[in-house]
């Protein structure tokens, strides 16, 4: 995407904005889907991420590629959503206590239940995001360690060590499945 287009997006040119959305919506959606693992929520996050990117184009310095920058925004938005899930569980707990109702299982729990035979997904869902997101970026989005480091804003060595830890866990479960 050239800088003329970025400039047009900045001033709110609707054709340029359409172009921007068309360029990134697939990738952003796939990224959100792979982190959130829920199509409806991934769609919301895609919208939020693209809007947020459009609104903060002013702060895009061109230090990384635009795609990496948009990815980085998307990852942050997805992380916030994951964090929100966690906090909502807290709230549901309080609510449950007052109303004496049972909380419904979260989407993630649901998914896990439907695929209880898939040990791999149990492990992936059980991983904390610190380890899960690098794995997804590396093996689904095919990004290099340097790109992942840029997106997550952590050193390359940290990406490597998190990938190592995740690979060790995944290796064990995949190996069992192979037997």
């Amino acid at each position: 995407m050239d800088y003329r287009l970025i400039e047009l997006c900045r001033v709110g040119d609707s054709t340029a904005i359409e172009n921007f959305v068309r360029t990134y919506q697939q990738d952003v959606y796939r990224l959100a889907l792979s982190i959130l693992d829920n199509p409806a929520e991934a769609e919301d996050a895609t919208q939020e991420a693209l809007l947020s990117a459009l609104r903060s184009l002013d702060s895009f310095q061109g230090a990384s590629s635009l795609k990496t920058w948009v990815y980085s925004i998307t990852v942050n938005i997805c992380r916030n959503r994951l964090q929100r899930h966690k906090r909502n569980e807290r709230l549901t707990k309080i609510l449950g206590e007052v109303l004496r109702v049972r909380s419904t299982p979260s989407v993630e729990e649901d998914t896990i239940q439907h695929e209880s035979n898939e040990a791999l997904w149990r492990v992936i869902h059980g991983m904390d995001e610190k380890h899960r997101i690098p794995v997804v970026l590396r093996y689904y989005h095919d990004l290099s360690v340097a790109e992942i480091a840029h997106i997550l804003q952590i050193p390359e060595g940290t990406v490597h060590s998190r990938l190592n830890i995740a690979r060790r866990q995944l290796h064990d479960v995949l190996k069992e499945g192979r037997l």
Partner: protein, 921 residues
């Protein structure tokens, strides 16, 4: 030709997976793989994984259709105002959490007042119960108005808005410390939610919790939840263990980081509080977590975690506990309610109880038809009926049956009602004319006044959580609109005298990550200065370690932080400088140096300045080689030994740090090691070896601080028993010493733990059939060498076993060290895999591996394990015994981190003597 090691090969196989190898490394690795079958197999195994993962990921996510066409439409619509604003002002839908809060607010119509710290006067006059108070009291609150949640403070009049956190991570749940000087809060800036402290001006941010588990502060939706202990020395929080469905309630001492595990289970986020005297902690557990409906159960424990009491067990089983309680301010009791369904009409009856944890007494107070609020200390009971067509009607009922009937507004529905610290009431109501109204009532309800009225969005409703300021003057409440939460402050004093007074609006929040605001407590400056809330010790990472290293060619004394930062050469002298020991106040370092031509003892300040020579002897005075501190507990005296020239024998001495009062502790020259001061500084214990004895046997002695009354504590051991382990512990009061003894013969129990009184008399504490490695507060740690396992035998008869090394391995020997708190780190020297490091708590109920294959050379020796004063780090030294010219290696390991992730590598430094951690004064 360069040949890489297996270890290097494994490392590079991993790096290759991430494309991190240079060309040269690639070819070196290929060479190694060519000649090494096992590494080749490992590489193949590792190469297989990415393809598998890629297949699974693509199979799962590729089949999902892409984003819907709505996205384009919605974004282009919303993006129209991009140049006008850079903040999202619409379009974020209210997510589930917000709905939760709204429903929640309707549900929580009961009121539990703030911790009560002053008596209530039920005057019924028009005077507001307000203390004289500074106008610049600060409100701390969280808002995500800048895009993510930050903590702000502002004055009650809306001035002085300050963003305290200003951090891209989530920051929320602020709680002021009792002295109003610090704020505890949650943040995920480290990647996962942890508890932090900062000063009121945002300086001095300290991370209190660490590890892989998330930590959360409780939530004050009930007006009673407050994590700080009344003296501000401890803080309560919840730990969410990854993978566990339960939560753990923890009390952490802020100063030294000591944790007390109070309860584990399905804990509620509210209802966590200290009794006003700080002696008890209340919390709520779901009594039947596996079967809905929820079954709240109030528990009380002593503040030290002992003697938990389950209030469900003290009331009839036909009654169900309500999830609300309140501490009485004056009698150290807790007041709570239960509900019982009474036949034949199945009406719900509420029973108010008062329970005294100190005497385990239960009093029944009153039966109520329906509970709203109750005021125990005046024996005043308030009953509310609301919700139905009749609107908000409140009945204040006295024990004599009389009461005031207050019909506020038949068009209004009560949302929330909360008592202030001084007994006044705030009542939030939602009215059918789409107005939100806030009422104020005095203690006994003889007067009720409307404070304000605001339009509200009828479709959304309103949470209207109320928080009183500690002086009763200000109220915060929140209102939800379709896309945000708004928090308002009302000055009750003003609003009562002038009904047109408008509330001050605090920053709004779009998000559902909503946490209750916190008012800066009423601060009596004099008290706060005389007994300030304890400060946490400097952040763990900034713990200073002193050690000696030859990295500059000669041995110098260095200090560095536990993370290796700020390495500083303190001595920088061409002579030998070594064996540093921090003074108990952490201000000075005692060390040895031969800068004067012979080894003498010196003292310097923590920054290397003010070096002074303490001894000037011909006989090379020196400190204990095993790393026992020479400093007396008061920091005034030092113990050292002096060798006669050319002799192997020495004598022990003690001396004031001003070079006066040198005393001989042992008249006979000998081989004296492991000297230690009793905790009260009155006695000194040490171990003596008699080299002419075969086998060499250690003897344990004690002598008073003046060098008088030398007693051998191992002198009256029965025949055939000998002090073996070389380890001993002072009792906390310094009146006795515990030590372990092995039996030489092959009969009867193999080992005994003795408690020796300082007159030499012995008590048998326990015996065991296997060699006792160690003993701590009633728990025996058994081991055999070569040992496949360690076994903890606890005084209650329970036990735990930890297998050491790998299944095919043997543990050749074990190096271990207890921290002052009794936690244990030990290294097992495994015959095949090298040293493996483990951690255990004092009684072995929790153990974990800290690191694998630390030093893969079997003959390496690991010694001088030294705990940091907060149990957070260890430092230890390894010596490569095969090549004596190689310097020793100092390792520093973050134990807290390594317990969660054994792949964490320790910091490594070259060293020439034992390390010493700077104490927490």
């Amino acid at each position: 030709m360069n040949q890489i090691s297996h270890k290097q090969a494994i490392k590079w196989i991993h790096r290759r997976l991430d494309g991190l190898l240079t060309k040269k490394q690639h070819s070196l690795l290929d060479e190694h793989l060519y000649s090494c079958d096992s590494c080749r197999a490992y590489a193949a195994e590792m190469d297989w994984l990415p393809a598998q993962l890629q297949n699974k990921f693509h199979a799962r996510w590729d089949e999902k259709p892409g984003p819907s066409s709505k996205i384009m439409q919605q974004i282009t619509e919303k993006a129209r105002n991009i140049p006008m604003t850079n903040r999202i002002s619409s379009g974020i839908k209210l997510s589930a959490g917000a709905v939760t809060l709204i429903v929640l607010a309707f549900a929580i119509n009961f009121a539990v007042s703030q911790l009560r710290n002053s008596s209530v006067t039920a005057t019924g006059t028009e005077t507001v119960n307000t203390l004289q108070q500074a106008e610049d009291r600060l409100l701390a609150f969280a808002s995500d108005q800048t895009g993510n949640s930050e903590i702000y403070t502002m004055r009650a009049d809306g001035s002085g808005l300050t963003n305290l956190t200003n951090d891209p991570a989530y920051d929320g749940s602020p709680f002021w410390s009792p002295d109003g000087k610090r704020i505890a809060f949650e943040s995920d800036r480290s990647g996962i939610s942890q508890i932090y402290l900062m000063d009121a001006d945002s300086s001095n941010v300290i991370q209190l919790t660490t590890g892989e588990a998330a930590h959360y502060l409780p939530m004050n939706i009930d007006g009673i939840t407050y994590p700080w202990s009344p003296d501000g020395s401890k803080i309560l929080f919840l730990e969410d263990d990854p993978g566990e469905q339960v939560w753990t309630l923890i009390s952490q001492n802020i100063k030294d980081g000591d944790k007390i595990f109070l309860a584990t289970g399905q804990l509620y986020y509210n209802g966590v509080s200290w009794s006003p005297d700080g002696n008890y902690i209340g919390y709520i557990l779901d009594a039947s977590p596996d079967s809905p409906p929820l079954d709240p159960d109030i528990h009380i424990t002593d503040a030290n975690g002992n003697n938990p009491r389950d209030l469900k067990k003290v009331v009839p089983h036909t009654e169900q506990l309500d999830s609300r309680y309140r501490w009485s301010s004056d009698r150290g009791s807790i007041i709570f309610t239960t509900t019982r369904s009474d036949p034949p009409h199945a009406t719900l009856v509420t029973i108010v109880y008062e329970y005294e944890p100190s005497s385990d007494t239960l009093l029944q107070k009153d039966n109520l038809k329906e509970m709203g609020d109750w005021e125990d200390s005046q024996h005043l009971v308030t009953e509310f009926r609301s919700f139905e067509s009749s609107g908000l009607i409140s009945v204040w009922q006295y024990p004599d049956g009389k009461g005031n009937l207050l019909d506020v507004d038949t068009q209004c529905l009560e949302l929330n009602i909360k008592r202030s610290p001084l007994g006044n009431l705030a009542i939030a109501a939602y009215c059918r004319d789409n107005q939100f109204r806030l009422y104020w009532a005095n203690t006994d309800g003889s007067m009720i006044k409307q404070l304000l009225s605001l339009p509200v969005d009828a479709t959304v409703g309103s949470p209207a959580n109320i928080v009183w300021s500690p002086d009763d003057r200000y109220i915060t409440f929140d209102l939800a609109s379709s896309n945000q939460f708004n928090v308002y402050i009302v000055d009750t004093e003003k609003a009562l005298s002038d009904p047109s007074t408008q509330p001050v609006q605090v920053l709004s929040s779009e998000d559902t990550d909503y946490s209750m605001p916190s008012w800066q407590p009423v601060m009596n400056n004099k008290v706060a200065e005389e007994e300030p809330t304890p400060q946490p010790s400097p952040q763990a990472k900034s713990r200073l370690l002193a050690f000696a290293s030859t990295q500059n060619g000669d041995s110098d004394i260095y200090t560095m932080h536990a993370d290796g930062s700020e390495l500083t050469n303190l001595t920088n002298d061409p002579a030998y400088d070594g064996n540093p020991f921090w003074s108990p106040d952490g201000n000075r370092i005692a060390f040895q140096s031969d800068r004067s031509g012979s080894t003498q003892i010196y003292l310097m300040d923590a920054d290397g300045s003010n070096i002074s020579q303490l001894t000037n002897e011909d006989s090379n005075p020196q400190f204990d080689i095993n790393g026992n501190t020479p400093w007396s507990p008061d920091g005034r005296r030092l113990i050292f030994s002096q060798f006669s020239n050319g002799e192997r024998k020495s004598k022990l001495y003690s001396m004031d740090v001003d070079r006066t009062n040198k005393i001989t502790l042992t008249n006979e020259p000998g081989e004296y090691v492991w000297p230690s001061w009793s905790p009260n500084g009155e006695y000194i214990a040490f171990i003596s070896y008699e080299s002419q004895e075969r086998p060499i046997v250690p003897h344990l002695f004690v002598v008073d601080k003046n060098g008088n009354g030398l007693v051998e504590l191992t002198g009256s051991l029965p025949m055939g028993e000998s002090f073996s382990a070389g380890n001993y512990y002072w009792s906390k009061d310094g009146t006795s010493i515990f030590f372990m003894v092995d039996r030489n013969e092959n009969q009867g129990p193999a080992s005994t733990v003795y408690e020796a009184n300082l007159d030499g008399s012995l008590n048998v504490i326990t015996r065991a059939s296997k060699p006792i490695l160690d003993w701590w507060n009633g728990t025996v740690l058994e081991s055999e060498t070569p040992a496949p396992a360690l076994t903890w035998l606890r005084s209650d008869g329970s036990q735990a076993t930890l297998d050491l090394c790998r299944s095919t391995d043997q543990a050749l020997n074990i190096a271990y060290k207890r921290s002052y708190n009794g936690n244990l780190v030990f290294g097992a020297n495994c015959s095949a895999s090298g040293w493996i490091l483990y951690w255990a708590n004092p009684d072995g109920t929790a153990t974990s591996k800290l690191m694998d294959s630390l030093i893969p050379v079997r003959n390496d020796i690991l010694f001088n394990i030294t705990w940091s004063p907060d149990d957070h780090f260890i430092a230890f030294v390894s010596l490569d015994s095969d090549s004596s010219n190689v310097p020793n290696t100092l390792y520093v390991l973050d134990v807290e981190q390594a317990r969660n992730d054994p792949s964490i590598q320790p910091l490594k430094m070259e060293t020439s003597s034992n390390p010493s951690w700077r104490p927490i004064p």
